[in-house]
């Protein structure tokens, strides 16, 4: 237990990095994922197909492989960024496809009458999406979006293997340096993750109730 207290600044920094990766990739994923979802339902076939292809390819590739391609592949084509930036790119490229699919299922779940009504008063696609479909879709996708973002939080741990000092890498380092305290260290880090994921799921539950509309 002493190790956890002695190394608390290292552990805290690790979790701060975990949160930073989650926050930055989360925001980027939501923005790009929403754009992808719009492309996937838009009237222009080439854009639909391109967005669809990207989503299918990335969803079916293991995240670790995406990390390998970004962290080890990008320097080969002279794209040199920090390890944290590489991790953010890999996490965003992967997570935005799941955000896209969550939003798309939200769009598909919207009452057809709403869309027909919007079209019948002459709104073009852009307005149908921005005024009628997306505001409702965002509400509906809060629970699945919460799951995607919690999964993202857990997925940031893979950055540990790609030179980013976040919580899981701290756990591994400490476990290597203080072998006799391996179990307390791992349990301590696990508790940290539990706190983060539980707070997130609680927050999303509150948010869901807040924006819920009476139907």
């Amino acid at each position: 237990m002493d190790v956890l207290l002695d190394q608390r600044s290292l552990i805290l920094d690790g979790f701060l990095m975990t949160l930073r990766l989650t926050a930055v990739s989360g925001v980027l994923s939501i923005v790009i994922g929403t754009l992808l979802a719009i492309l996937r339902v838009c009237p222009i076939p080439t854009l639909r197909a391109a967005a669809g292809t990207y989503v299918v390819l990335l969803r079916n590739t293991p995240l670790t492989l995406v990390f390998v391609l970004v962290a080890f592949g990008f320097p080969r084509i002279d794209i040199r960024l920090s390890f944290v930036a590489f991790a953010t790119v890999a996490l965003t490229a992967y997570t935005c496809t799941f955000v896209c699919e969550a939003i798309r299922s939200g769009i598909n779940a919207i009452d057809g009458g709403e869309i027909e009504a919007a079209r019948s008063i002459g709104l073009p696609f852009r307005r149908v999406m921005s005024l009628v479909v997306l505001p409702q879709a965002f509400r509906r996708v809060i629970p699945p979006m919460g799951s995607v973002l919690i999964a993202l939080t857990k997925n940031t741990s893979i950055a540990a293997a790609f030179s980013v000092t976040e919580a899981t890498q701290v756990a591994r380092r400490l476990a290597n340096s203080f072998a006799s305290a391996t179990i307390p260290i791992l349990v301590g880090i696990a508790v940290g993750y539990l706190v983060i994921t539980l707070v997130m799921s609680g927050g999303f539950a509150v948010l869901e109730r807040r924006v819920a509309t009476v139907r």
């Binding site: 339902v41 009237p43 222009i44 076939p45 080439t46 854009l47 299918v56 390819l57 079916n60 590739t61 293991p62 995240l63 670790t64 492989l65 390998v68 391609l69 080890f72 592949g73 080969r76 084509i77 002279d78 997570t95 799941f98 699919e101 969550a102 299922s105 769009i107 598909n108 057809g112 869309i115 027909e116 079209r119 073009p124 696609f125 149908v128 629970p143 699945p144 799951s147 995607v148 919690i150 939080t153 857990k154 997925n155 741990s157 893979i158 540990a160 293997a161 899981t168 756990a171 591994r172 290597n176 072998a179 391996t182 179990i183 791992l186 696990a190 993750y193 539990l194 994921t197 539980l198």
Partner: protein, 284 residues
């Protein structure tokens, strides 16, 4: 989607869509071209980087890696299924303590990063004198995580079995365990089969964490190749193609099972459509 988001295009809209398509195609082609030019400039298409994949030796490394991936995924799948049935049954138990224990177990293992679970098994278990090695660590972690996720799928499946079925079974005088075994469980399996197969895609993708703990699975075999030849990008593309092919095949099976069920009409429709969306979310 049953209702279109836009009106059937008239002549003007058709022309606009055509223009949009052309511009869209140009933008997409431009993006692809930038990437390709960048790859060519960096010499990523030179034959020395791609020719190795025609060599039997290199192909054998990849095949051995694929075998190791499938072995870990297969064993973890069987164990996770067994664990999930136990957990699902425990969560439906009449004893509060058993129910709470199973709930805590599933919530705990679903809330932790899989990699941390792998480290628990890889670094933690040896402290108790149990050395499981990278393969064991990977399988244990995959089993605990996927067992918990699948237990939730099972629970949703059991909950989706029409209640009249259970009432009818009880009224025939069947015991609770028989009702679960003979009535709820078989129907639940049918309902959740698509979600279960989708979860297999997740499990298969997650075996790539073996890369991090030096288990020679497919991605780690790719590492063996690119550290020797220096062709990270071509190797990553080849390995990704293998993963994508297998996962698309699995997703295809899931979609086929779902279609077949909907046609046969023997699975409650509300359940058949309700379960996958709820579970599909966990597939990150």
């Amino acid at each position: 989607m049953t209702i279109a988001l836009y009106d059937p295009p008239g002549p003007i809209a058709r022309r606009r869509i055509l223009i949009g398509s052309v511009i869209g195609a140009l933008v997409v082609a431009g993006l692809v071209a930038v990437v390709v030019v960048k790859l060519i400039d960096a010499g990523q298409f030179r034959s020395a980087f791609w020719e190795p994949f025609t060599r039997p030796g290199v192909q054998r490394i990849l095949l051995r890696g694929l075998g190791a991936t499938l072995r870990a995924a297969g064993l973890a799948l069987v164990l996770a299924l067994a664990l999930s049935v136990l957990l699902a049954a425990a969560r439906l138990s009449e004893r509060r303590l058993v129910r709470l224990g199973a709930t805590a177990f599933t919530e705990f293992f679903r809330a932790l990063p899989l990699l941390l679970l792998v480290f628990f098994a890889f670094l933690g278990l040896p402290r108790f004198g149990i050395d499981v090695g990278p393969f064991g660590a990977l399988v244990i972690a995959l089993t605990l995580y996927n067992g918990s996720v699948m237990a939730e799928i099972f629970r949703a499946g059991v909950a989706a079995v029409p209640h009249g079925q259970v009432e009818a079974a009880f009224s025939l005088g069947l015991s609770k365990s028989t009702v679960f075994r003979r009535i709820q469980f078989p129907q639940a399996v049918r309902i959740m089969l698509p979600s279960l197969i989708s979860q297999m895609v997740v499990l298969l993708k997650d075996t790539s964490l073996g890369f991090i703990v030096a288990y020679e699975e497919l991605l780690r075999s790719g590492r063996l190749i690119y550290t020797n030849i220096g062709n990270v990008i071509p190797t990553a593309i080849v390995v990704a193609a293998i993963y994508i092919t297998i996962n698309l095949a699995l997703s295809g099976v899931a979609a086929w099972v779902e279609r077949r069920q909907r046609r046969s009409g023997r699975v409650p429709v509300t359940a058949g459509t309700g379960v996958p969306t709820e579970i599909g979310v966990g597939q990150v």
